[in-house]
Amino acid sequence: MAGGVIAWITGKRSSLFSRYISLAALFIDFIIVVFIYFRNGINLDKTWLIEYNTNWIPRFGINLHLAMDGLSLLLLLLTFFIGIIAVLISWKEIQTNTGFFHFNILWILSGITGVFLSMDLFLFYFFWEVMLIPMYFLIGIWGHENRIYASYKFFIFTQASGLLMFLAILGLYLVHGNNTGTYTFDYQQLLVTPMGSAMEMLLMCGFLAAFLVKLPVVPFHSWLPDAHSEAPTAGSLILASLMLKTGAYGLLRFVVPIFPNAAASFAPVGMALGVIGILYGAKLAFSQTDLKRLVAYTSVNHMGFIVLGVFAFNELAYQGVVMQIIVHGISTGALFIIAGQLYERMHTRDLNKMGGLWEHIPVMGGIGLIFVMASLGLPGLGNFIAEFLTLSGVFKSSILFACLASVGLVAGTIYSLRIMQKVFYGRQNSEHKMKDLSIRESIALGSMVIVIIYLGIFPQAVIRTAKPSIMKILNIKEQSFDSKTRKVDYELFNSVIEKEVSKAEK
């Protein structure tokens, strides 16, 4: 069924009525997923909610295996939601070649959908790549001044890392085949691949390369600001809200369960990378003058939390990661939309040329305020839940990193408020007469506001759905993880302090 969904989207080729068609397509998809969500609301502990499996290239043991569990269900909801928004907001922005534009958008979305659903590694890689080309077009054709450079950079970065993952997938395939005799790309079977630790590390690095670049994690992030700032609004939106999430999803779905031991030994590095991402992203965000670049760096900052959480290996942190995936999609997406709409009105992205806009566009200001607050993690909005869960999960496994990441919260405050200050507060710098949000824009942004507040107040909706998937991942992890080798950080911390104190007392 879900397979049919994808085929159906891809079938939607460009046409002159593309806006309506794509809107309708996404809407129907959204409804379908919502329907699945509610139908399965009660029994979420099945392995898969929906599964579809058929041979594709039997010669290599490649199957067309799609399956959906709570995690992918949530991500699909996000995908289609953002998809609809993306179509809505580019209604007026994109005037040239709309047909092809929407073709690209749908194509990207179906690639992303595929990534979230594939249970066959080959298929996964396949979808992983499928979303790149249309994104390249999206940036390269409808982007801003420096679009060509940005699109190249985006493409080459992601493709290069993707190819490394490809190599790792093949490696995994061969290792599995050599050790068990069955050559297959199937996720379930590869989960139990026996392998030596050096091999595991090597293969994991291949996967990590792709996911970390996609996320992106410092120092692989440098494609992101360019791609984000040059892409059209819908492009930035999809890039930030969805495409980055495929990296996070990959970490959760593949890296941790398939390479539990290697992931465990990589964890300190991973967490350090996360923290660096948080701090470095915040720092760069603060120094930008281009609004979209600024928001792009906030993504680096927020994605740091995801990496941090993934390598904390506990349920709390994972819930936080899932939450972060969703709320970051919405809040950063909304900031990009706002940036796009400002650009539409002012034809600049330069913060220094903005200011005092509240007077003219209070509604946008208000919405901007909400998302700025979301990005700095204000309680009551979804981001807070995400950050809180992640950090408290991280705290359980590493106090040092949790504390450092918390410093990131302050940094987040600094750059977020800067947006507010530069754009909406202060004296007006330009003579633009601006219109406030149109109804279409209000619907788009308004629904995002509702979602983000809803998630802040009723996060259980997400937590409950994601729980079975997360527990599954963690179980796999636990089974093969020798818990004796590592003492829980907290206890270690406690004992060290007690020792110190008793020393001091003597």
Partner: protein, 625 residues
Amino acid sequence: MTNYIGLIPAIPLLSFLIIALLGKFIPRKGVAILGVGSVTLSSLITIVTGVNFISSHPDGGAWISTFYTWINAGGFSADISFRLDSLSLIFCFVITFVGTLIHLYSIEFMKDDEGFARFFAYMNLFVSSMLILVLADNLLLLYFGWEGVGLCSYLLIGFWYKDPANGAAARKAFIVTRIGDTSMIIGLFLLFVSFGTLNIESVMQQAPVKWSPGAPLAVISAILLLGGALGKSAQLPLQTWLPDAMAGPSPVSALIHAATMVTAGVYLIARMNVLFTLAPAVQTAIAVIGAATLLIAGFSALTQHDLKRVLAYSTISQIGYMFLALGVGAWSAAIFHFMIHAFFKALLFLGAGSIILLLHEEHDMFKMGGLRKKLPVIFITFLIGGASLSALPLITAGFYSKDQILWLSWSSGMGSKWLWLAGITGAFITSLYTFRMIFLTFFGELKIQPKHKPGLLMTIPLIILASLSLVGGFIELPDNLGPIRLFSKLLTPLLPAITLSNETTPEWMFQIISAIISVGGIYLAYIFFYKKSAFSVSFGKSRLSYFFYKGWEFDRLYDILFVRPIVWLSEINKKDFIDKIYTCIATATGFFNMLLTKTQNGKLRWYVTVLTAGIIVLLTIMLIL
């Protein structure tokens, strides 16, 4: 019954939503009715609930009303759930009651402002968040309210957003408090990891079981929570944001930056008293911080020109007293002082606000004067507030609350004479700067003609607050004057009673000393600022005075220590040096391309030569192998 508790924060929240969403379509009058009405309604509910609560004495000393499970993940669970006990009742009362008065006042104060609806929306949101803060039954929900009030404070400081300075002040406030908040949230993590829950009740129960007094983890978590409290309550070293926060409208200063939000830190410490009791070292630190803050802020208040800044420093200083009280274990004294302070400080801010408004936005006290005759109502109420602030003996509420703190800082088991000395010096300075302010503003010759007399909506709140500042103290009298202990009795089951040290000096001696100090301060102020003695003039020009004026140059210090490095950090590497690495790779590839391109020169013989060379090299390699 218990479900009414939820209504207390819900009503202002609802009103906020209505005003925020539909503000454009509602006339000013409607906004005013909604904004004020909602707060009034919740204050009425608070009073009714409070009366019920006191009369019924519920089991466990609290009513808990749970709505739904907020978060439940990985062993962590937090509910949206409110808990009403005596401590939160007092806070609720102050918030809603003072809030109502201030809202009422704002109708007139803000009547010509274009952001009228926005103002009331923010104010309602603030009241709602503050109520959530004090009613929360778990620390996460408390944090929710905690950040919510921070947001409102940010929004209201930057309310007049067109002036970049206001925006900067707002940002400063938010960021500085956020630093404290971050420490607090780390503290929450620690508590959660230690106890597996953030429910205040169960943390309080488990903490003494798991941790012995002075246990390192207890100390650490207490320090972390203290960090949050310091930020919110503008105590050393995070006090610098509050004077700047005066950029907001005066009712905001009154409600948020005097009466309620800044005392959230006091609330937090009082709420978590078990934890702090387990960490005596931290408690001492609180006392010392309180004492230091009250002195530093007092001296700064002494030299300010801006009327509101005087009050701001005074607020810092008064909260310092509360911290001092908390630090010596005088829990209920701190809360008592909080309540009284809320009355008179709100009064002073509102009075100051009216003066500034009527004098065409003039903040500088030295340009005021002689308003005694022109604005009698304001003068009298302001005088009462001032008297209460300087703890004029017997008649003012401030005397009773402050005196209690001073006495306990000496006589408490954790007190010391140094703390007392700091407190009494502070009291002296307090009355000095208070009356400096009064003399400068209301006496002397008239310099600026006020626009008009304040309206009823302004004066009524002033009068009510003034009377409270006078009589509020009578619910808790020292033993020697008549043992009325209504206030502390209310709090007794919740907050541990204070342990006095063995050798107690009789209380009356301290009362007399502080009375003398207070009056002495007023007299000195009279000499210095009414008679304009030479010393006061020369001191005003001295470097020390400037040093005090600048708030002990904390801003400059932080600027050098933190702001500039951060700005420097952001200036360098704007372009992200990591990007350079990749650019280098690209350039290198381009370079190779150029080299290789040169070989494709189209010359036939060159091609043959390369071919020959190639085969020779290949053959050599092969033969060597």
